[in-house]
Every structure is written in C-alpha cells, then in structure tokens.
C-alpha cells in the first residue's frame, strides 16, 4: 500500500469572521496526482497556503510523511523535499534563467552538482536558448516553465502547484502536461487549477472545494458529470 505523503485533519482557516477553509480532511498517496478545483473563493488557495506554510491554520493539522508540520515556515516545509509553485510566477526577475534554476539546485547540492543539475533541467525543459536571459524579459509562459524548473530541479517527493497553466498558450500547456506527468514518476503532485481542459488531460482523481469545504472527491469523469458540481461551477441550484 502506498505511503500517505500529505494529510490534513480538520484544517480550518478564518480571517476575522470569514471561514476560508472549513474543516478540510485531505489525504494524498505517494506518486498520486490530485487536482483541486472549485469556483473563485472556494478556499483552494487558502488550503494551498496553509499546506505550504504561507498561512498558519486557525485549527487543524497538516502532516507530511506522518510528521506534523502545522505552523512550520515555508522554508522548513520546502526543506523536507516539497516543491512549491505559487499562483503568479514567483521568480527572481533580475537574474537569468540559469541563475534562477542554479539557486534552486544549490539548496540541496554543492556548487558543482548544482550547476550540473541546472544544465540538465534547462535541457529537459528546452530552456537552452533563453538560459542566459533575465526572467524579467521573458513571456508569461516561459516564466511559468522556468518556475516549474525551479520545482523540478530539487527532485521533490511532493509537488504543490497553484494554477500552473494560467495564462499559457496551447503549446505551453501541452509541454507543461508532459512535465507534470514526468514528475509523477517520483513525486506526488497536487494541482490547484481552473482550466477544466487541462484538468482532464492530467488528472484522475479530483477534489472539489466549495465554500471552504470539500464538496466531493472522485474520478475526474464522475466529478465533471455530477449535477451538484456543475451547479456550483455555474452558480445554479442542482
């Protein structure tokens, strides 16, 4: 039986009187790929931020490989071997593609090994022609791809991606899909996403969020055909 790599128990996050994440119980097995979907304000990103340490939950616990990481700082969680990509491209704009990826690789490797790994990931993501270009000069899709490179170069066992396909061209999305599939050979992957076409192309199991809580969790085809989910997305009663 596959090991549980990520688990939340009763995860709740309140902002004043607003409960953004409400008693969420979540479980993810090793090398599983899970998409988190839901309309705007459903609590997906709040859940994501609680898991990555960007927010400290008001109640409940987060476990990674059985270890309670509730309230840990983002760098402590990342140091466990967790790769994180935030909603908007979060990169070092004034540094080159190579320098960005080298910095990610250096965290877990010595200088020479970091350079070799950076070169390798640049090849794998076809970033060679822009390797010496500053991130600030790149198009959105290229920046997203570089950020995925930052995640992949550290060989994580758990990858958390917030809207990786947002604002990307069809070609870039296809390339992104392939990269994510490659990642699942060694890592469990959680993707927060809106793009249903992209979700169909990558996911098997989907967790639907609604009003901060988990509404449904099932195979992507069942979720897509579910009347309640459709109503939540379209804002109509089931």
């Amino acid at each position: 039986m596959a090991e549980t790599v990520l688990e939340t128990h009763g995860l709740t996050m309140r902002f004043g009187g607003v409960t953004a994440s409400d008693n969420v119980n979540f479980k993810l097995k090793a090398r599983e790929l899970r998409c988190l979907i839901g309309p705007n304000g459903a609590g997906k990103s709040t859940f994501f931020k609680c898991v990555t340490g960007l927010l400290t939950p008001s109640e409940g616990h987060v476990y990674m490989r059985g270890q309670d990481v509730t309230g840990w700082q983002p760098h402590q969680i990342a140091s466990l071997g967790v790769g994180i990509k935030t909603q908007t491209p979060n990169v070092m704009d004034a540094l080159s593609v190579h320098e960005n990826i080298w910095l990610a690789a250096r965290r877990f490797n010595d200088r020479a090994e970091a350079s070799a790994r950076a070169d390798d990931i640049i090849d794998r993501l076809a970033l060679g022609p822009i390797a010496r270009t500053d991130l600030g000069q790149l198009a959105h899709g290229e920046r997203q791809r570089v950020e995925l490179g930052l995640v992949a170069v550290a060989d994580p066992w758990l990858v958390l991606l917030d809207e990786p396909a947002a604002g990307m061209s069809a070609d870039d999305v296809a390339r992104m899909t392939q990269i994510i599939h490659d990642m699942t050979r060694t890592a469990a992957v959680v993707i927060v996403e809106h793009d249903m076409q992209f979700i169909r192309s990558v996911a098997e199991t989907v967790t639907v969020f609604h009003q901060g809580a988990v509404l449904m969790e099932d195979h992507v085809d069942k979720v897509m055909s579910d009347a309640t989910v459709r109503a939540v997305y379209l804002g109509k009663k089931a």
Binding site: T52, L54, Q73, P74, H75, A78, S79, I84, T86, N90, V91, M92, D93, A94, L95, E99, W102, L103, A104, R106, R107, F108, R111, L150, A154
Partner: protein, 341 residues
C-alpha cells in the same frame, strides 16, 4: 570562473596600488584618509542594501558603536590592537541581535528602515546624556555631548609607543579598504552572496526553495555592521575624538545618499559616492556663501531625476555602448549581416 576571479583580484590590486600612490600628489593625505574611511562605510551599506535588499537607515549606529568601542577600550587597555578587534566585534554582535529580532519578526521594507533609524536616534540621545561622572566604563568617561578625547591611537601591534599616524595611517586605511573590498567581492561570488542576491530579488521564492531567509539576512546585516564598525574605529583614530554626532541623523542620511549617488548593486559605487561627496563637502566647507547641505541635497535630487541607478552603473552602461559600437564599426559588413540576419 576561478581564472576570472584571479584576474579580477590582480586588476583590483594594481588599480588600488596606483590610486594609493597617485592620490596623495593631488589631495593631502589627512583628507584622503577620511575619504577612504567614508568609502569603507559606504561599502558597508552598499553590501547590505545593494546586494541584500536591506535598507538600513541606521548604518551610522554601527559606525558610532565601532568608534566608541575603540575609544573606550583604548583608554582601558592602553594599546590599539585589542580595541580594533573589539570595534569590529561589538557592532557585529549588536547587529546580530537587532537583525535577528527584525528578520525573524518578519519586518520588511519601510518598517525595517524605521526601526534602524530609531535605534540610531536612541543611541544618539543616550550618548548625549552621559556627560555626568557616573557614566564610566572602566577608566573611560563616556563624556556626553563632549565626547571622548585623548585615547590611545593606532600603534604597531604590541608596541604602544610606536604610533601609526600621518602618511603611514593613510596607507593602513587604504590597505584596509582594499582588503575589505576583496573580501566583499569574494563573499558576493560565493554561494552565500548569490543566494543573498536571490533574496534581494524575491524573498518569498527563496523561502519556497528552502532557504532560511531570516538567518541569511541576519548574517549579511552583521557583516555590514562589522565593516561599519571597522570604519568607525579608523575614524576615531583619524579624528582622535569621538562625539555623539557619529550617531546623528545627518550621518545616517549621508551614507544613504553616498550609495544612491555612487550606484546601488555595485561594489565600487558606494565607495566612490562616499569619497566624492565627502570631498565635495570638504571643499564647500572652506567657503561660507552656500550651505553645503543644500548642495548635497541638490546633487541627490539631480541623481534621482537623471541618473536614478547612480554614477557607476551609468558609466558602465555608457562604456558598454561604446565597446559595442566600436566592435560593430570594426566588424566586416558581411559578419554584421550574418549576425542580424
């Protein structure tokens, strides 16, 4: 990379040796000495602000702490070697504690500036109120607004009677600046330096890569304070008196202006900015027609409007354009077409 580093060290040493040798023929060594000391102080802020993104409004606090530590220790010990070491260690320790409180407390941007400024002003106020005889550390009276005069100045290590003053003191300060410059260069080329630049660019991303941003910023802040402390000790030796004005608001503001005018994100910019503006202030101080703070303010405004990146980056950009233009002119037409086609 290692070959390039060796070549850069050699170039730095040759250029520095030439400057150290030539400059006394143009400016008196007494004046040059303080320009060199200010250059080191500018570099201390240039390191943490330009490469670490830490806008410290209180670099004068570490400068003043270095100077006072030296003076107090020199009076008590009667020899300069240990006081020089303490003048580096005390500001560094103070910065480590202050930095840890600020960075682990997740203070950023303007709040960081406010805290460092307030700490400097507290030190200024405190030292000003220590005129009474009860404010004594060992044999040294802190002296309040009168400051501390008459302490042992720099001597050959182990020989308190062999003073280093005049031209030899200028050479000691100049060599110290070259050593600090090379150490800063080495630091910035190390993994620590590259990670510091990454933190300057995007703290959140660096934390998400697994770097302990607060710890690294604290270390960088401490290194900057140690350099400022060293420059403070050298300043105490140059002026032979330390006063609370070392902690003043104007002193803090001047260091920031030196960095802006010289060029942030460069090693040379803050040194040149400090030396250039301090020399200008010295020249203006010899006349009474115009208030020199007005001129300094005008220069800052002009730089912010027309050269916002500072002098050194502007010269580097201009130099780059000249080099590219020269290469294009010397390239055969066919090559140019191939390159652009």
């Amino acid at each position: 990379m290692r070959g390039t580093g060796g070549r850069d060290v050699l170039i730095t040493l040759v250029v520095a040796a030439l400057l150290i040798w030539i400059m006394p023929t143009m400016i008196a060594t007494y004046t040059l000495t303080v320009l060199v000391i200010y250059g080191m102080l500018g570099l201390s802020l240039g390191l943490i602000w330009g490469f670490g993104g830490i806008l410290c409004f209180g670099q004068a606090a570490f400068f003043g702490l270095g100077a006072y530590t030296y003076a107090i220790a020199a009076i008590n010990i009667g020899e300069s070697t240990v006081p020089m070491i303490l003048a580096v260690l005390v500001p560094a320790l103070f910065a480590a504690i202050l930095g840890a409180i600020m960075f682990y407390g997740r203070l950023m941007d303007v709040y960081l500036g406010v805290i460092t400024l307030v700490v400097t002003l507290i030190l200024f106020k405190f030292v000003n109120t220590t005129a009474g005889p009860q404010y004594v550390i060992g044999k040294a009276r802190i002296g309040g607004y009168n400051g501390i005069p008459g302490f042992q100045t720099l001597n050959v290590p182990g020989d308190p009677g062999a003073y280093i003053w005049g031209d030899p003191f200028y050479y000691v300060c100049a060599v110290a600046l070259v050593i600090v410059f090379l150490l800063v260069t080495w630091l910035l080329r190390s993994s620590f330096g590259r990670i510091a630049v990454g933190i300057r660019e995007n703290e959140v991303r660096m934390a998400l890569l697994g770097y302990d941003v607060a710890a690294r910023k604290t270390v960088l802040f401490t290194i900057g304070a140690a350099i400022a402390g060293l420059s403070g000790a050298l300043f105490a030796n140059w002026s032979e008196i330390v006063t609370p004005s070392l902690f003043s608001l104007s002193q803090s503001a001047e260091i920031i202006i030196w960095c802006i005018v010289g060029g942030l994100g460069t090693r040379l910019g803050p040194i040149l900015g400090a030396a250039g503006l301090a020399y200008l202030k010295f020249m203006l101080g010899q006349q009474s027609m115009i208030d020199n703070t007005l001129i300094t303010g005008l220069i800052l405004v002009l730089f912010v409007l027309f050269l916002p990146r500072g002098l050194v980056p502007a010269v580097a950009t201009l130099w780059g354009r000249i080099v590219v233009g020269t290469r294009r002119r010397t390239q055969p037409r066919t090559m140019r077409r191939t390159r652009h086609g």
